[in-house]
């Protein structure tokens, strides 16, 4: 049973289809144990990630956001991660001005073969977010909207 069971935070990962999603898969196939706070959203390329995805995620209830793409020079589309790097770095330096601690957002590169590395990234980032605790966004702006459970019953997501 994971150490953090019941104390999970909400971490959202945006992973590129070609490298990092494959890397996460490799980690799973290799049965590397990982914290379970992370929920993965697969995107075609890190260059597809509008920084506003991350802003919205953080403002609407996530405690941390992790972006991972192909290593520089390895982009499936050639240049997507180079553009992404500029946007993501600018966003990372900007976020503190709205009261989001710098540690709640990280971006990195993991290739499809780096299962072990993926495990380390998730482990490290999850620990970093746990050290910060829940994001102030829920306390400041209120809990996010009601999310119905599978049977349609309401469950307040905090």
């Amino acid at each position: 049973m994971p150490i953090l069971a019941g104390k999970e935070l909400r971490i959202v990962g945006f992973l590129c289809n070609w490298c990092s999603y494959g890397g996460a898969d490799t980690a799973g196939v290799g049965r590397f144990s990982q914290p379970t706070d992370l929920r993965i959203i697969r995107v075609p390329c890190s260059g597809r990630i509008d920084p506003l995805f991350i802003v919205k995620t953080l403002l609407y209830g996530a405690d941390g956001v992790l972006v991972s793409g192909c290593h520089p020079r390895d982009c499936h589309y050639g240049q997507g991660n180079f553009y992404a790097r500029r946007r993501l770095e600018a966003l990372k330096r900007f976020l503190p001005i709205i009261g989001v601690e710098p540690g709640r957002f990280e971006y990195t590169w993991v290739s499809a073969s780096e299962g072990q590395r993926w495990q380390q990234v998730v482990q490290g980032f999850t620990e970093q977010v746990h050290a910060l605790g829940p994001s102030p966004a829920s306390a400041v702006f209120g809990a996010c909207r009601e999310i119905p459970d599978e049977k349609g019953g309401p469950r307040v997501a905090v």
């Binding site: 506003l52 790097r85 770095e89 900007f94 001005i97 709205i98 990234v121 209120g142």
Partner: protein, 319 residues
């Protein structure tokens, strides 16, 4: 002839070949100048030039695309034109740019603090040291620092950077305090949760009028802003601080590397929310990462439109 009179003469000469020339005339009371579209030579008599010409008129240019128009520019306004040129939203050959050296414009919000009720100011005068307002309580003197827009106190571009006519002697850059930096430093000194709570409190009085967006010269999507799209549904109609701050962040992100920091967003805000700080912060980041300022060179490639394989100032964290 004063530089202003020379400029008026130039405008009169140019007008027959132009759809209009955009400038200012006196507004509804002594404190307000208002944008003015001169179409006939006799209109030029009503043109005014003063520290009350606060608006960045380059906002109007994209709506005249394809027509020949003239525009009167302060230094900061010219950066808006340059940015529009860079983004190919206006054509240089269709513009006649009338620049005047500017020694700073008033911030009516700041003047309001001194006057009490801004709507009851019956006369205004200014000199190099500040403003004098006639109010029901008597004359109120406002020092330059407490009267001028923050951007003007440390203005680096008092003369239009691109102009066809620039009468008068160019002014040197201002050497006053950078109040924008001071504001950012104060915000950055706050604990994150307190800072977020501060933004929520500030945004709670936002009325979602989108004056910030519509006054912005770089908000060129106009009627097709994603903030009002139902699909994709970036924002709900709910009047909550979260949605309203999210809009400010949409604006900021869409201005990254494009914002000329004219301050129109904050000036236009009818409830005086200090939203310029967000754009300022992004501009600082863009400057420190890419050594770039928007609106200085119409031929430059904007930083988020390009990349370096080895970035000079980005060192990704090694996990």
């Amino acid at each position: 002839m004063s530089p202003f009179e020379t400029l008026k003469e130039k405008i009169r000469e140019a007008l027959p070949g132009l759809d209009c020339v955009i400038g200012w005339r006196q507004g509804f009371d002594p404190l307000h100048a208002t944008p003015f579209f001169m179409r006939a030579p006799e209109d030029v008599e009503k043109l005014v030039w003063s520290p009350l010409c606060v608006h960045n008129l380059s906002t109007y240019l994209p709506s005249f695309r394809g027509k020949k128009v003239g525009i009167v520019l302060k230094g900061c306004d010219s950066r808006g034109v340059i940015e529009l040129l860079q983004e190919k939203l206006v054509e240089r050959e269709n513009l006649v740019l009338f620049g005047l050296p500017c020694s700073g414009v008033a911030d009516l919000t700041k003047l309001g603090r001194a006057a009490g009720d801004l709507d009851r100011v019956s006369a205004v005068a200014w000199d190099e040291a500040g403003f004098t307002l006639a109010t029901p309580r008597g004359e109120v003197r406002v020092a330059r620092r407490d009267a001028l827009a923050d951007k003007c106190l440390s203005c680096q571009f008092p003369n239009a950077l691109e102009a066809d006519h620039l009468p008068g002697d160019p002014l040197p850059p201002a050497t006053g305090p950078d109040l924008g930096d001071e504001e950012l430093a104060a915000l950055e000194a706050m604990a994150p949760a307190d800072l977020m709570a501060r933004w929520a409190a500030e945004m709670s009085r936002c009325i979602r009028c989108y004056a910030c967006r519509n006054a912005c010269p770089m908000c060129v999507c106009r009627d097709h802003c994603i903030a009002q799209s139902r699909d994709p549904h970036w924002l709900s109609q709910e009047d909550s601080p979260r949605e309203k701050l999210m809009f400010q962040l949409i604006h900021t992100m869409h201005l990254a590397g494009r914002c000329v920091e004219c301050g129109e967003c904050q000036r236009a805000c009818p409830v005086d929310i200090p939203i310029l700080a967000l754009r300022r912060k992004m501009n600082r980041v863009v400057r420190e990462l890419f050594d770039y300022q928007a609106g200085l060179d119409s031929q430059a490639v904007p930083p988020l439109f390009t990349f370096q394989v080895e970035e000079a100032n980005i060192k990704e964290r090694k996990w």
